[in-house]
Subunit: 143 residues, 4 copies
């Protein structure tokens, strides 16, 4: 596995009057995929907030919208090439449309997130047990 | 004044691929108008949460969508006929479109909200100082 | 089967600073469940719009928010007791939280939707082939 | 004037359970500010879509989230340093919080948008009359 993929269906709520998916919605889709990847590697975000006082906030992102998704499309949102720092993470993500003959690339993003303490949101080191899960998860993705 | 009115412009984010405002967005618009009415009568919701531990949650609503709003429309959202209980409030609200020859009624709603304690969200009596502002504000609207 | 149920996970995007799901989001969840029930009974909304010029708009809703959902909750959203008219439909819907010992009722709604012509959004009769699918689908739910 | 600024109030709908503004919402805020700048230089987007068949879609963006906004904050969203091409535009934008002693920088973005034909969304040259308004508007911002 060189990527983690999460399926997302486009509903009316995701579209705008240009009859395409509203550009900011892809950030939602990408966060859902990251959240599911975290769950996949054994991290429940509400648990680590309650037990280790850590939450992750997006700090930087570079996005390219290549082709629009439309109502009722079936998308795949990936998480790949994850880089783990002591206080932050970086993800590559793609949104693709599932078609009969394969996949069409719609949006790409690089997303950085930082570990911060719940409440005041001060930057903090990623707690060791979580860090190890990240490293193992990122390694599994790279294989 | 028999109503409080708050102007809202329709942006792309508010619309869907049916080329009208997405039906759930009117609940956002109505909350903005209620928030601004609270501010108008001297209640800042973050202050009363921090100082008196009270937040207000919507518990019941009856909505009628009569005509659709569209991209770029200028709307007026009202708050009127407010009824104050010891632990809850009820509002009548309308969303109208501002046209050259007046206003066109788009959506109506009755909205009930309850006072709950921040954190556990247990129902609580509205603190007296806030209750008095509500009563005075509702009375001013009814005149 | 006396109901159709659709699972929905709560992500950060669905919550607000009260640390609960934002009240308007349940209308999104309910529309997703209705859309999936339509798909389940053989109706793809983009197809019927393109081929038969019909779209469905929400015209009326009565909602009760009983308990709040929170970040990371697993919800089930139902469609049940569907009533079919010649130009409109009525649904009962519930949002429940899946717990270890069963389900907890969070939100209930009655939702009415009307058939309208794509473009001008004039009310229209539900095309016969769609009407028959609705009647069969509603009957299957009632058994 | 070296920038165009648009005030935006943070409501419950904009926040998430981390008790800060949800990261994707800033893209909404920035689009509102761009839309208002277009209006300010004489371009109504629904008119140019209906009369000249052109719409603008976001194609690329680089965002930095520096500090979080919170419920009830008063923000200023700028449009500045606009660069006009024959088929695309580039904007610099900042989101600042208005405080008693001035402004605090929260989010920065570079946003590119392309002109596309309404319907099929094929890239197109910006119609001459609109292009001239853009050039004059960008020049006024740079002075």
């Amino acid at each position: 596995m060189s990527e983690f993929a999460w399926p997302i269906r486009v509903y009316w709520e995701d579209t705008d009057a240009g009859q395409i998916v509203y550009h900011a919605r892809y950030l939602h889709f990408m966060e859902r995929a990251r959240s599911e990847w975290l769950r996949h590697i054994g991290i429940e975000q509400d648990q680590v907030r309650d037990e280790q006082n850590v939450v992750f906030v997006v700090t930087e992102s570079y996005l390219k919208w290549i082709k629009p998704a439309r109502y009722n499309d079936e998308l795949n949102v990936t998480v790949e090439n994850v880089k783990i720092g002591r206080a932050s993470l970086q993800f590559e993500q793609r949104v693709c449309r599932q078609n009969q003959d394969g996949e069409e690339l719609l949006v790409t993003a690089t997303v950085r997130a930082a570990a911060v303490a719940d409440g005041g949101l001060k930057p903090m080191r990623i707690p060791q047990s979580i860090y190890e899960k990240f490293v193992a998860g990122a390694k599994a993705l790279a294989e």
